[in-house]
Symmetry: C2
């Protein structure tokens, strides 16, 4: 059979990986490291040579490994977890990523590497490795301590930011330049796409999976899950985002399904098989000659990763109000790079914008920082004691006062509740507006094709435009009305809070009413201007626009209650899916 | 990324397969059928065209599907089950396979197809489909009835015979001719290889898996299992057998491990994923034009499969002593072809000895017979009633008497125990001799290479030969001694039974002793002649042979007890593995 060389490759990979991982397990090192070393042994640069024949097929399977890795990461991610993550995680992750990208970029420039190489180096250093951290904390039996929980929170935020970095880098690599306008537009479009994908996905996918699960067949559930996963990846690729993003998003959507546990159980062996191939394929690319030639940059970058992450994450944790000891532990736990770095390095290679040496350098730094992680975590407490002894007493007191001050300014009681209410309303308005914008975007995107279908009924292009724009408006009415009602509630709340009788005297009620009416109307007007700008290509002529507006107003007047009911039902369905899931 | 077309293929396969299998599930048809239809829809011969881009990679993955299918079949197979299967299964499976190969061959010749096409057609029709039968019996809720148990027994025997057929066909296809000598030599070598692989495998593999399982990591267990599976497949391929055989054997070996349940749970999703690709790939190859052109052969073969299997399996079951109703049910349950047929058809294609039309014809016949299976099972009882009314009373009485006669001649009480003892001793002697032959074969096979290593110490070729032959003899001594002791026990038993005092009078004791001594000595002599013939290429000169014999005799005299202890320990280890397994 013609697949024999392929089977031979798989046999070699799995046998060597098996032996090396058993060895590494006995040496108390992560399995991932064993895979990379196994790949290094098998690889074409070290004896015995010629063990792998069909490197292309192995690389294709390795890409499947990336997809399954990110899909699993998505399954473990969950929106609820993200909402629960505290300020520490956001501040630490943000500080870490900004600082590390900057450090990486500067190191790259210092070594006279190209702009793209330096930029990708920054991105490679930005994100820590969930796999390595979980393994290290497991081995040290520290998984349930407070600082470990903080680290997991940081990792969740990092996942989302990392996805954004990948999308940004793809855009920058294609256009070849970094402009702040492009960054904003990419981030904006990406957030829009993610919100729409999550809302639509969470409305549809868990229901579909629940239906398939009624057949009580693991095989059918698996085929459906794989079909959705690959299908969504394909859709995302067609929209010119990275497959990695698609795999993560569809995983996050399926994380809201009741079948999550079963899906995880079914996907686990497949992920393990392909991710083993992925990590071995990484080792395959390691060339000792390159590693020796770049020994100096590797050393510098390794030190920069360890110090930079300890400082940025530790500082982030401290700024968010944790004590010095915990902050240091968080920083030291996060001081390594891993699978995300490999994915970003691979992205640079497949986009052909980075040099050949970057990948092996990233892998070498990852191996070194992985090896140091458990020692760093164990060294955190002694170090914080020693630092505590070194820091002058007065400074220590100032630092301690910072935490107290922070706790004192945090909203409490009624104002805390109010703040949370305002946050919730703003989130809802944001989601509804994202959906509206998505509908108009889709209309503009498909305008030509829809116009083609319409020619039999509406010959004139202006009429077609009016039809598409009107249809988009009709579709988005439930969300617009919902956004308007939330905004009205918000402005009433603000009027109540902002306009006190002692200030406005007998005008209090009138001022309040004006504020409560004006804010939502103004925001609606701004939304329409925004929509008009966004859908410029399908905006009909002014007369038709007025006509549409009149029709829309009539429709709204007649169907107001119905629209509200439609929206409520969708919202209830969404919240049910999110809440039902709590049971598992 | 360059893997996008591949991901697109996977997405299309999984999405269409998902939708079609859900549809087929609602229509109460097997999932397998849904996959084939999905492949037909996606395929290049039916609109929409051009859905699949990277057909080569899909075919490679489909071959992985075959490996995982056969590996799973091996995991579900177990030696204990085979030992427990009654005479019914052996007789029915043997009759079925011989008759169906003959019918298939004759039909092929009748349509003026080539010898190889006709021979492969026969093999394609020989073996029924476990997947389809399990599904049908599940749907009809008949899984626990007696005839279902008989069918499962037949399927187990079919698996082993099917493996033999695949090995035979590979040999015949390569040499291009069917000679009875070659068939015997192939079957002999194959049985030898299987016995050695099973004994050595069951001694080593479950211990290795138990060791890996102590790490309590699904990932490491999976990687080890996959490494062993692919590695063994590769070894089997190097010995010029089919990969399918290797996958099945290593599965059967792992079936004796205590980790069986865990392994099955880990392999199931991977098998489901790749076997889905395998069955879809089958559908991809269906060309409506070919199906139409071969409509007449397809119809004839379908009828032949249904009637031939009902008659052969039914007759086999009846001859083995089942009543007419049960026999008919067994025959009708087995009246279809499935995954084994696809594997055999694919073998013919990859060996390039069959015509292009054979594969689609086999798939079409499989689809038609799969569709008819549930109806046939349900029709078995009414049909047997009607047949009972049609058969003349006297004939019915004669048929009924056959069953009674069969039960009357079956050994019972002491003689049944004796028969089972003799069977057991012969099996043990056979296994020990197979191992001895295997050792000498390996010696002859590696003679040149070992000779190369030896040249530094023993320059002369004659001395090298003597060394290798002597080492083989030394290694096989434990098994030779064990075989000798079993044979002695057997001959004492036979002497006791065969020489009755009423016949031999006062010479009884002497005759018995002569028989008990002569038989094992004669058989040992025959074994040595056989070994000498088998290892002709490494047989040393007569003088050296005599020297080796004297040394061996001395070694045996001194180490007799030690050899027995070594053998007993190995036997205990083997039986422990086989028995421990009962617990799960």
């Amino acid at each position: 059979m013609h697949a024999i060389s392929f089977i031979q490759d798989l046999a070699v990979i799995m046998l060597v990986a098996g032996v090396v991982t058993i060895l590494f397990h006995r040496l108390r090192q992560p399995v991932v490291l064993g895979y990379i070393v196994a790949g290094f042994i098998i690889g074409p640069h070290t004896p015995p040579f010629g063990l792998i024949h069909d490197e292309d097929t192995i690389k294709t399977l390795a890409e499947l490994g990336v997809i399954f890795l990110m899909f699993s990461l998505g399954l473990e991610f969950s929106l609820r977890k993200l909402f629960k993550v505290g300020a520490t995680a956001f501040i630490a992750a943000f500080l870490e990523i900004v600082l590390m990208i900057w450090i990486g970029y500067e190191i790259g420039r210092w070594f006279d590497w190209g702009t793209m190489d330096s930029l990708f180096l920054g991105a490679i250093l930005a994100i820590s490795s969930t796999t390595i951290i979980v393994k290290a904390l497991n081995d040290l039996k520290m998984k349930n301590e407070r600082f470990a929980q903080l680290i997991f929170g940081v990792l969740i935020v990092e996942d989302i930011l990392g996805i954004g970095i990948i999308a940004l880098l793809s855009g920058i690599a294609v256009s070849g330049a970094v402009s702040s306008g492009e960054v904003f537009s990419t981030v904006g479009k990406l957030s829009l796409f993610m919100v729409i994908a999550l809302v639509v996905g969470i409305l549809l996918v868990p229901r579909l999976l629940a239906y398939v699960a009624t057949f009580d067949s693991n095989e059918m559930l698996l085929v459906t899950v794989l079909g959705l996963c690959f299908g969504f990846c394909l859709l995302v690729v067609k929209l010119e985002y990275s497959m990695v993003l698609g795999a993560f998003l569809i995983g996050a959507i399926m994380a809201e399904s009741r079948q999550l546990l079963k899906i995880e159980r079914l996907i686990e062996p497949i992920r393990d098989m392909f991710s083993a191939i992925f990590f071995v394929a990484i080792g395959l690319m390691l060339d000792p000659a390159i590693l020796l030639a770049y020994a100096w940059p590797i050393a510098v970058i390794t030190v920069a990763v360890v110090l930079g992450k300890i400082v940025s994450c530790g500082m982030g944790a401290f700024i968010a109000g944790n004590d010095g000891k915990t902050s240091l532990r968080v920083g030291m736990g996060l001081s390594q790079i891993g699978e995300f770095s490999f994915i970003i390095a691979a992205l640079g290679m497949t986009l052909q914008v980075t040099s050949d040496f970057l990948y092996p350098v990233a892998v070498a730094v990852s191996v070194l920082t992985t090896l140091s992680t458990p020692y760093l975590i164990r060294a955190a407490d002694p170090l914080s004691h020693r630092l505590g002894a070194l820091v002058p007493q007065r400074m220590a007191r100032v630092l301690g006062m910072y935490g107290e001050w922070l706790r004192s300014i945090q909203p409490r009681g009624q104002s805390a509740m109010l703040a949370s209410m305002i946050r919730k309303i703003l989130l809802q308005v944001g989601v509804n507006l994202a959906l509206v914008i998505g509908i108009f975007f889709a209309g503009a995107y498909f305008a030509e094709r829809i116009g083609g279908y319409l020619t039999t009924w509406v010959a004139e292009p202006g009429g077609q435009k009016a039809f598409i724009w009107g249809a988009a408006l009709l579709l988005s009415l439930p969300f617009l009305i919902a956004a308007y009602r939330k905004l009205k509630a918000l402005s009433m709340l603000l009027a109540e809070m902002g306009v006190k009788p002692e200030m406005a005297g007998r005008h209090t009620q009138r001022v309040r009413r004006i504020i409560a009416e004006v804010i939502p109307l103004l925001s609606l007007l701004m939304i329409f201007v925004l929509l008009a700008a966004l859908s410029a290509s399908i905006l009909p002529t002014l007369e038709l626009l007025l006509l549409i507006a009149v029709v829309a107003a009539a429709v709204v007047a007649v169907l107001w209650r119905w629209f509200i009911r439609v929206h409520t039902r969708m919202q209830v369905a969404l919240l049910e899916t999110l809440d039902n899931n709590v049971e598992h």
